[in-house]
Symmetry: C2
Subunit: 195 residues, 2 copies
């Protein structure tokens, strides 16, 4: 269905209101009625766009996935990686994204629909990362590239959701260590890790 | 206050019931009344032990922290680390712990009380890990050891909460890569061959 600009804008207003409520109260306490109020719409209008909260999450995850795909080339550049990716962490936008991501993941533990939405997004991101890593670092073995991408994904998620010291800057030792580890993860020339 | 065995047992029943409800429904939908019912107690009895859900979480986090402290020496052994720590992942207990941990972390984004409980636990775990790493791997620089421990914590949390492929076993390439990366993270002590 092709939407007029006004419909697009309304749809986005609902998505934005949803994010505000989920971040403030958590997934379960964010109600469709309150979201509608924040978006300046009636509940009936909201239901014309989304039949439930899972539907809105699908739209949120789709938008985030497009954003992540667009910045992935920069993300896979290992130079000053820790500073580039994580020292923007004080921004409000980063905190909102962090909380929203955690809420969706927590709820995906109970909802097969959400688990599949998340899984589809992860698959798209992983496939794109594999393609870029193959091009950039000249690695060949598909299984090895996937392992390296998954390692970086785990590390990124762990840093993104670290619960302590989020207000503390990374130490010089951390910057050195990450540079070393990322050079091992994505070597400039292929080094076999086989014994 | 010294508790009789029965009081200890009741307290543990409440904690166990809380975990069941939080994992099944999420933190917000787990009510004190339902928890009491599952634990076979009246609501009044529950309130004699815990005045609210945050209090129960404090007890849960304390118990988990003691468990983690007890297994940390094994956790910091890098040999076959991925297999030893993460290939037990199909067990129901592991899944419960995963969901519970995510719920607490998600709620800690909104609750300063929970954030502090989590932060205290992380501090205790980090301090113990630093001590063990210093002993085992012969590293000296405190800032460097902390950076290495934090790297391992981020990686562990990311793997623990990875949303996709939790049902897929790790590939041979992943096992090789993790072995290589952990050897970089915690190098074996250099034994001087000089007389």
């Amino acid at each position: 269905m092709k939407r007029s600009p006004t419909q697009e804008q309304r749809r986005q207003q609902i998505i934005d209101a949803f994010i505000v409520h989920v971040v403030e109260k958590g997934f379960h306490r964010a109600s469709m009625a309150e979201m509608a109020k924040t978006a300046g719409l009636s509940v009936g209008q909201v239901y014309r766009y989304f039949s439930n909260k899972e539907d809105i999450i699908r739209a949120v995850v789709e938008q985030k996935t497009e954003e992540y795909l667009a910045i992935m080339e920069d993300f896979l550049e290992k130079k000053d990686w820790l500073a580039r990716i994580f020292e923007q962490k004080h921004s409000q936008e980063f905190q909102i994204e962090r909380v929203l991501n955690m809420e969706i993941k927590a709820e995906a533990n109970r909802s097969p629909v959400l688990a599949e939405i998340q899984s589809d997004a992860d698959r798209r991101l992983t496939e794109h990362a594999i393609k870029l890593v193959r091009q950039r670092y000249g690695l060949q073995d598909e299984e090895d590239i996937l392992a390296r991408v998954q390692f970086l994904v785990a590390l990124t998620n762990g840093l993104f959701h670290r619960s302590n010291d989020t207000d503390q800057p990374f130490s010089q030792a951390s910057h050195r260590l990450f540079q070393h580890m990322l050079n091992e993860l994505f070597p400039d020339q292929v080094v076999s890790t086989q014994p």
